[in-house]
Symmetry: C2
């Protein structure tokens, strides 16, 4: 996590850099991406110039700050792929991604849609999307995932999860879990009992 490439930075510079990243992570997670750079700098106990020297643009800082979360994403999806039960793997991926999104306000915004020029993100995005697609296809083949499921549905749910940002931090996690539960139920293939009122040609 802490950068330890053959210490090109002076020790105090490295300290400050780490403190800035910590502060950025905390604030981005708590309040979303539109936290002023000054606030991050003040929180980290450095001046604005120091912050800007390490991270020339706000985007750079955002990218660096969320590298860990990105790794978490990959781990979640990989563990889900490793689950022998296709449906449980699929469902647990959704649940854990929802919780992760709820915990980090800014992450989905940073990852999805937002910045098209962040090469690092797009690269990981396509990779993640491929794994998720595989996960979904496996679950569908097992007959557990609704037949009309498409990948866009997953994006829809993940994007929607962003909407519960406004709830107060205390209940945020519980909300995310409930939301995931509902989403998973929505995706579950329901038995042969065909319901009226849903098929709208």
């Amino acid at each position: 996590m802490a950068e330890q490439l053959p210490h090109l930075l002076r020790s105090d510079a490295q300290d400050n850099r780490d403190r800035v990243l910590d502060a950025a992570r905390a604030l981005f997670s708590e309040r979303g991406l539109d936290v002023p750079m000054r606030v991050i700098a003040r929180e980290a106990g450095v001046g604005p110039a120091t912050l800007y020297r390490r991270f020339p643009t706000k985007q750079t800082l955002v990218d660096e700050a969320f590298i860990d979360e990105l790794a978490t994403c990959r781990r979640i999806v990989e563990e889900s792929c490793a689950d022998p039960d296709p449906w449980r793997g699929f469902a647990s991926a959704i649940e854990r991604l929802c919780v992760l999104n709820a915990r980090n306000q800014g992450f989905v915004n940073a990852f999805m849609s937002a910045n098209p020029e962040a090469e690092m993100f797009t690269e990981h995005r396509v990779s993640l999307q491929r794994q998720l697609a595989h996960l979904a296809q496996r679950a569908k083949r097992a007959g557990a995932l609704r037949r009309d499921f498409v990948m866009d549905d997953l994006v829809l749910v993940l994007l929607a999860g962003r909407g519960l940002s406004s709830v107060l931090p205390s209940s945020r996690e519980a909300r995310a879990l409930r939301f995931a539960e509902l989403a998973i139920d929505a995706f579950r293939e329901r038995g042969e009992g065909i319901s009226v009122g849903q098929r709208r040609r």
Copy 2:
């Protein structure tokens, strides 16, 4: 819609007021609430001062601009309550509210959470919430709505619907419909293969 209280405003003033409201509605719907007042004024073909004279604060403008949508909300919920089929009423309310939210970017933000001091909104909110609760209870009693449903779930879905703001306007409506479909499926009581839609005891 157009204010016609015994014309206290001069004709040109009334015209400008209407144009401002039209522009505000269009821009808020399309781009969300964080549209600069200047942009609204320019779009309406008036100066900033004129705008601020009619609507002393941005909040005032937002409130006025969304009065119609609020009425639409009420109508949707009332029509759903009037539906003899409990589940269909509940489901159609969700679907239509989702579409309405997708069509008007800023509306949910304006209505939910956002401004606690907008007395007009809060008043309507509690009233709407009561009706929705009735709708839900009726559907639950009919055995069509999942037993563990709570009102917070509905808020969750409506709030989440806000998250699909980022998709481009073209596919927005289709997304909203699909999202509503998923939400409705999530809420449907899954059970003994009973077909919902017609009252099943």
